[in-house]
Symmetry: C2
Subunit: 145 residues, 2 copies
């Protein structure tokens, strides 16, 4: 389970297909994809995308990302932000979501974060509680488009 | 109102004092502060800290930060994350919080974000609604220390 350094068209297609199960994920051009891939790669361990691949089919069946925010408060502390967790609808019940969260949480810990946070719907609260998270605040949003 | 490029000891002291009104903000060494300042400066417009200074006293009386997350989904979209908004307790009622949020929201817009988000306590919900935000999700957290 890792953020691959390869950005093949097949992988791009698979990650897009998986994200589409959760939110809007338009088809992007190869150039846009590669530019964004390079931008994120340049951030090194401060922004990683983890994937779980079904080795028999070569299919990506779960993904989740984390980026590390650097603050002044909490003794120049760091906070891990978990984003875009998706498990393929055909691979539910295998605890892959829990594995993704455990991996990303451990990454935040290893990076020296004092906490790791994520926003989720109320219906996913119980799942994240099983992963050791507690509800703290509410998320407010403003859309531009 | 801007992220200053200067990191004088006086400014450092003032920002720390202000953040202390909201959360844990230990005293950090000059070296740690300058290292973190350089790390954040290197991110350019992808991570800014805005401040409002009372020009008569030279005191920083409000602050708030934003960083830009880059995604693959939403056509390689970007999301603005607002963090650490604080108004000096002696400067409440001057709508400085609203000014900080308006500035950070406009920054997210100018950076091409499709949305801007923030986490807050339930008691601050009404304030952010006045700033044009709507509640969407809940925030889950896991502390390491």
């Amino acid at each position: 389970m890792h953020a691959s350094n390869s950005s093949s068209k097949e992988q791009k297609f698979q990650v897009q297909k998986l994200l589409l199960q959760r939110t809007v994920c338009d088809s992007v051009s190869d150039k846009d994809f590669e530019d964004r891939f390079r931008e994120l790669s340049a951030l090194g361990d401060d922004h990683i995308i983890s994937v779980i691949e079904d080795e028999s089919s070569g299919k990506i069946i779960a993904t989740g990302s984390i980026f590390i925010e650097k603050k002044f408060l909490r003794n120049c502390g760091k906070v891990g932000h978990i984003e875009d967790v998706v498990v393929d609808s055909n691979a539910r019940g295998l605890k892959l979501g829990k594995k993704i969260i455990a991996f990303l949480t451990e990454h935040a810990h290893l990076m020296g974060c004092y906490k790791v946070i994520l926003d989720c719907s109320l219906e996913n609260k119980a799942f994240y509680e099983k992963c050791g998270f507690k509800q703290k605040e509410i998320q407010m949003v403003k859309y531009f488009i």
